[in-house]
Symmetry: C2
Subunit: 386 residues, 2 copies
């Protein structure tokens, strides 16, 4: 591993490339031809500064239409490290994270955000690397009635903001089962619904299949005052079919709350959510935590290396991708941050009208093909020389 | 449009970034941590120099296994401009392109390539912008018995090389219908089979739906002496399901012969084929033509601009992506070129074993979901506040 740490890839390019080259590099790499900067209110910047997190603002525009007004929505994406050591009492750990994220939600409100989303399992350290059930399962809480949803519901109502948060869920009514779940709270402060992670990793230290099963909530799209939103949780971003079903159900913005580490997935990070935005003509918001987390007991990583106590670093790099293939720069790779992005949701339909992927996708062909491929005696279509 | 032309994005980064930053940028952007350079024989470089095309060599390695030997395959990808004005006689135009590409195939043989693939509709200018049927349909030829397949079959046998080429097909036996088709010629020199483009664009000047219909050949994988290969032609790269079916049928390398232009698709180019490599644990080889083509009669582009005669520039930028998410640099954006890449096909299974996407993809869920979404009375899964 290089000793040198790059805090932000985009800032590195901006620093070193001459203006003309930079402009072309940004167009080719990011699909960006104009200044994307969104001016943020001083109050939001002050809150960020006082609480020690980065805040960045960008915007995507759409062409004016004659029959529809612009549908401008501001989306806030929050990436953060944990607040207290993992040896602190569970309640205090959660309170500590609540406190720092509440300040970020306040800044999001000050920046005019209509929808905010957290990172995956945001109330806790990502302890699944340990394979220990205790005390970590104590972080699980009910999606609708748990303390975190309750706390956020008040903020949602006070700020008139939809809040999406991704937690470890305990389904008390159904056998105390544990799930990886995103909860949607309406700007009315009411619980709108939940979605459970569809694809569970079995890779590296992501021992999540030890804790919970594949989600059973389908691919719900939540119709909010600020657009139709969905959540593709973490490892689901590796599966184009998961992204596709949210699109077929009508999503305009799909959040991807994640927790992922550098050596494993970083070269994939800028590709997958952006490809999903392109293929499905919607906005995507991949969010990843930051920092390195240290656990009380040592564990091994199945990679031949000695036992250790650390997990990470999580590389942050939260960004937003648009249906036309353009994207924002990333937040920092190592610092807490709030990414505020103004979207014109009209862009989704405009890109559908222009590119036509929704019309050229031949759904019946693939429904039939996947059905055949699902059968035990599936014979792949292979051509051999006679 | 910027007056400044960037010949190659990768060379621009290499020129301006300090060594430490460049190393991290390459790791994050391209998933590359070691030197990828493949030394090429002097004869290949000489052929390239004499014939005025770029030649580059890269390699991907895999970990050593105990029970399987490395399965090293060299793949050649050819990008080129047309040779003569589009006003020249059709036969001469084709001969002109044959001549320059034959030299590139010779260089590929000298570089030890086992499989070579051309760009889309390689024997002709990309005249579909014009919507004129004549004389352009004269470029169409039979997949199995056409003059181009015949010419290439001799090279395939002489060089012991599988050749994939993408042409305008005329199906003489079935109503003289026209198709966009990739033909696979075995290294024995025999015709192995064909695949017809599954997804036909309706965007920009890509008026292909005026000429041919959606392909009816499914998603064949061709089992060759050098691995299992498939072809996703051009616009099919925007459809993750198309990529997926080649994977489910067992492909290890999927070529993407293309013809696409800058303002339309360039920010998507580095994303889609690479995402497919990741999602399906195979290698992808997106190939795009270069140059600007001028047609005899003016045509309009449906964009409010005056009628004109040019189509392009096609931006080249051919590259190879690996199942682990890494990729090679691109060929030039504006010059003929041959990209030689050595792959260890063992990497496909290794990545499947490591990441497990093939096991976590929940095919039956999506077979059922796509079936429902295909029905006329499909009701999207939408959650609304009561």
């Amino acid at each position: 591993m290089s000793a040198f740490e790059l805090k932000n890839l985009d800032e590195c390019l901006e620093k070193h490339l001459p203006a003309e080259e930079l402009k072309e590099v940004k167009r080719i790499l990011y699909g960006v031809e104009q200044d994307q900067t969104l001016e943020l209110p001083a109050s939001a910047s002050t809150t960020a500064k006082e609480n020690g997190f980065e805040i960045k603002g960008y915007r995507f525009s759409a062409r004016p239409e004659q029959l529809r007004k612009p549908r401008l929505v501001r989306v806030g994406a929050i990436q953060n490290s944990i607040a207290l050591p993992t040896t602190a009492p569970i309640g205090e750990q959660r309170e500590g994270i609540w406190k720092k994220v509440k300040a970020m939600i306040k800044a999001a409100a000050e920046a005019g955000c209509n929808i905010v989303c957290t990172q995956e399992a945001w109330t806790m350290p990502f302890a699944f690397c340990t394979r220990e059930k205790f005390p970590w399962c104590e972080f699980a809480e009910e999606a609708e009635k748990g303390p975190t949803t309750k706390m956020l519901a008040e903020l949602a109502k006070a700020y008139n903001m939809v809040i999406v948060h991704s937690i470890l869920e305990r389904d008390v009514e159904h056998g105390e089962t544990i799930w990886n779940t995103a909860v949607v709270i309406s700007n009315s402060g009411r619980y709108l619904g939940k979605h459970r992670k569809n694809h569970i990793p079995r890779v590296g230290d992501f021992n999540e299949s030890t804790y919970y099963m594949e989600g059973n909530t389908g691919h719900p799209v939540f119709e909010t005052e600020f657009g139709k939103i969905a959540i593709n949780i973490c490892y689901g971003r590796h599966h184009p079919q998961n992204w596709m079903m949210f699109g077929l159900n009508g999503a305009e913005i799909v959040f991807n709350p994640s927790a992922t580490i550098g050596r494993l997935s970083e070269p994939l990070w800028s590709i997958e959510a952006r490809n999903a935005a392109i293929a499905n003509s919607y906005f995507t918001v991949p969010i990843n935590r930051v920092g390195t987390e240290e656990f009380p007991n040592e564990y091994t990583s199945g990679d031949g290396q000695p036992a250790h106590k650390q997990f990470g670093p999580f590389y942050g790099s939260t960004y937003v991708a648009a249906p036309d293939g353009s994207r924002t720069p990333s937040l920092s790779r190592c610092q807490d941050g709030l990414l505020v992005t103004e979207l014109d949701l009209n862009l989704c339909r405009q890109v559908k009208d222009f590119w036509g992927f929704r019309q050229t996708q031949r759904l019946p062909l693939y429904a039939e093909s996947l059905q055949k491929a699902s059968e035990l005696d599936f014979k792949p279509q292979i051509v051999r020389e006679q």
